[in-house]
């Protein structure tokens, strides 16, 4: 017994010693990072680069991942955020998100036809149609004025989307988003409208004769219709006379009395409609040809809050997996758009924790997609529609908590501003995190890594704004090598169309 106790104690001591070393190394960040280490690391990267061979074949499948608002600073911070959660990290900065390991990269110029800093409507329109348009408009030409209510005029200015072309070619198609499936990014894939806000008939002007976006999703009549639509936005599909199945004290939002979920079910054989995690889990991809999943009345929960949702929701990774399982039954191939829609919302709220955890979940979804597909026949693209005013600043030491206060190398105390107050590494140029007009608060004893902490902002705005700088495009698979240099955002469409052997614009 005593021996046994000794052994246990001894093991614990050893383990504790190991953890101490690991922790110490983590803080120091880089005892391994000798000159030889960097030389070896560089040589390995050169070898990998030399072995890259362009895949000039056509793609069977294309998966387009959009991190809404996922600017480069978001990617960098998310990389460190995830890296610092890993055991034996060297500070977290050395980490790579799944999509950062894709072989090809370009930058994307995101301006819209009428704005230097765009919103998600024209940016996704550019990505999915190859044509830039005005803010607030989905997959129409820039000649169309915003809020045009005449269907004939809108139809005359439609620009065909890659999803529509894929359906015409007989491919299966799907959209997945953590935002409403009628929101700008998924909406641009299947709908054409002069106003992104017309998501249900309740938002349409009384004298408009155009179809709302939810209606366009269900009425979509190209090919055999979308096979998968997963996300939030249930209220856009249910009538105001019907209680919501999860939030039973609320109703649907449609005023025309239509229950579009029923229309989906009656339109498609072997179809299903689900609104919670249990229903989602029960879906057998082998037996389901058309799946509509609407897991919230509006946007889905943030990933951080998802597990506390009453009805339960699938993660972005789980939705991506199910979508691929359904779409990949088509031997001709498929096109899938997956959006991490709430990176953008968290940034607008000035909440870096949630923005970064959403970006990490996008990385998880991409990793799963890479596992489930073959790079020989599947083009995978990961990009953002636009950036935000999110910054990584100061001179924090290696391994400094990315959500923490800046502490410079070798310093015992936090770095101070001109008033002698510490500041966080992460911040925003504008937004709700503004603490003025008086002197900045003393954050010394504030848990700035708390999920609900709002990073400081320089200019007071109720909602933080988008940023205009370029965003990254990561890619692997057929034609991925065409992503190089600095490109217009609309170039992404050209590469996808070429990869799927589609005639651009037709």
């Amino acid at each position: 017994m005593r021996y046994k106790e000794f052994r246990v104690t001894s093991w614990v001591v050893l383990l504790a010693g190991f953890l101490l070393v690991a922790t110490d190394e983590s803080k120091a960040g880089n005892t391994l990072e000798t000159a030889d280490f960097w030389m070896e690391s560089g040589k390995n990267s050169i070898k990998a680069a030399e072995q890259l061979k362009p895949n000039n074949t056509y793609a069977k499948n294309v998966i387009l991942f959009i991190g809404d608002g996922m600017g480069i600073s978001t990617i960098t911070a998310a990389r460190i955020f995830e890296g610092q959660s890993k055991p034996n990290n060297r500070g977290g900065e050395e980490n790579s998100l799944s999509f950062e390991q894709l072989p090809y990269l370009a930058l994307s110029k995101t301006y819209s036809a009428n704005q230097q800093t765009p919103d998600s409507a024209p940016t996704m329109s550019a990505i999915i149609t190859g044509v830039k348009t005005n803010d607030g408009e989905l997959s129409v030409s820039a000649k169309l004025p915003r809020e045009e209510k005449n269907a004939d005029v809108v139809n005359a200015n439609k620009v065909k989307t890659l999803l529509e072309q894929a359906e015409e070619k007989g491919l299966s198609t799907g959209v997945v988003s953590t935002a409403r499936v009628t929101h700008a990014t998924p909406g641009a894939c299947y709908a054409h409208t002069s106003e992104r806000d017309w998501e249900s008939d309740a938002q349409l002007p009384a004298d408009a004769n155009v179809k709302d976006i939810a209606r366009q999703l269900v009425d979509f009549n190209i090919g055999n219709g979308l096979e998968v639509a997963l996300g939030g936005g249930r209220s856009m599909f249910l009538p105001s006379t019907l209680a919501d199945p999860e939030d039973t004290d609320k109703t649907g939002g449609r005023k025309d009395g239509l229950d579009l979920t029923k229309q989906w079910l009656s339109k498609y054989p072997k179809s299903a409609y689900v609104y919670d995690k249990a229903g989602f889990d029960a879906i057998d991809p082998k037996k389901t040809e058309h799946l509509l999943g609407l897991f919230e009345r509006s946007h889905m929960e943030y990933e951080h809050d998802r597990l506390s949702d009453a009805g339960g929701e699938p993660s972005l990774t789980e939705m991506t997996t199910k979508a691929i399982d359904i779409l990949s039954k088509n031997k001709k191939g498929y096109f899938l758009m997956v959006e991490a829609g709430r990176i953008d919302h968290a940034h607008h709220a000035g909440n870096a924790y949630r923005a970064l955890s959403e970006a990490v979940e996008l990385s998880n979804a991409v990793r799963k997609a890479l596992e489930k597909t073959n790079a020989k026949d599947t083009l995978i693209i990961v990009t953002a529609d636009h950036s935000h005013t999110f910054t990584i600043a100061g001179y924090p030491q290696r391994g400094n908590p990315i959500l923490g206060l800046v502490k410079q190398p070798g310093e015992a105390n936090f770095a101070k501003d001109k008033n002698g107050l510490p500041y966080t590494t992460l911040g925003y140029a504008n937004g709700p995190g503004y603490r003025g007009p008086n002197v900045r608060p003393d954050l010394s004893s504030t848990d700035t890594a708390h999920p609900d902490f709002l990073q400081e902002a320089g200019i007071p705005l109720g909602s933080e704004t988008h940023g205009a700088e370029d965003v990254a495009i990561f890619a692997s698979g057929p034609q991925a090598h065409l992503f190089h240099g600095v490109q217009e955002e609309s170039y992404i469409y050209q590469v996808m169309a070429k990869a799927l052997k589609l005639k651009p614009g037709q």
């Binding site: 919302h345 607008h348 709220a349 109720g462």
Partner: protein, 231 residues
């Protein structure tokens, strides 16, 4: 935090020294009686006097206020799992900004249902002791006072209705007095519940994408996206 705290200026109060006497006790929140009430808030300062006439409706899962001066309101709802959602209502424009529980978390707002439903928060109650009884609008009430010299406060509490009839405090050169002027069964409220299907609803999460929307531009200064941390 959010605007309801304008009428209930309680959050900045520190706990007061305890005195012998009966403390104010709020009954179980689920048992708070449903009712409607009207209040008047008067803010006196060196700059003059401001008056606000406002209405209040309460059920076990919903609290609504309506400021008749600027014709705006707030609605708080509590779901069966205890999560709290919030709506900022602009009646003139027939527009509502909706905050889901996740939206509130993301902006660092931590709603306190007790404070929402009773207009008093715990730190405020902790410093109060009863110093008399009276009748308000023909209803029995208890009078409480704190002796915090930095932020003195007095409250008249309607025992049966579980609602303050008076909140009076001095803070930063202001005297803020909120007094009940009417109380009604919910069905006999002088104003109707303001929720309407004709109103346009906008998610708080979507505001950032509505930079060109004239209504959103006009209310940016009225909606609080900011946090509520002690920093």
């Amino acid at each position: 935090m959010l605007k309801i705290m304008l009428w209930v200026p309680v959050l900045l109060l520190s706990a007061c020294a305890q005195q012998p006497g009966k403390p104010l006790q709020i009954q179980r929140l689920e048992q708070l009686p449903a009712l409607a009430a009207e209040f008047e808030t008067i803010v006196d300062s060196d700059d003059g006097q401001q008056r606000y006439h406002w209405r209040f409706w309460r059920t076990s899962k919903r609290v609504e206020t309506h400021n008749l001066q600027d014709n705006t309101g707030e609605i708080w709802t509590k779901s069966t799992d205890g999560k709290i959602a919030y709506e900022r209502v602009f009646h003139d424009q027939k527009q509502v900004i909706e905050y889901t529980p996740g939206d509130l978390n993301a902006i660092g707002a931590v709603p306190d249902w007790s404070a929402i439903a009773t207009l008093l928060n715990q730190s405020m109650i902790a410093g109060l002791v009863e110093d008399g009884r009276e009748q308000v609008l023909g209803r029995p009430a208890s009078h409480y006072q704190s002796n915090n010299a930095d932020a003195p406060i007095e409250i008249t509490w309607l025992d049966r209705e579980q609602l303050p009839a008076l909140i009076k405090r001095n803070d930063k050169g202001h005297t803020i007095s909120t007094r009940i002027i009417g109380i009604y069964p919910l069905a006999e409220s002088p104003g109707p519940y303001q929720r309407s299907t004709n109103y346009r609803y906008t998610d708080f999460a979507d505001i950032g994408d509505k930079e060109s929307d004239p209504f959103i531009q006009s209310i940016q200064h009225k909606i609080k996206g900011g946090h509520n941390h002690s920093d």
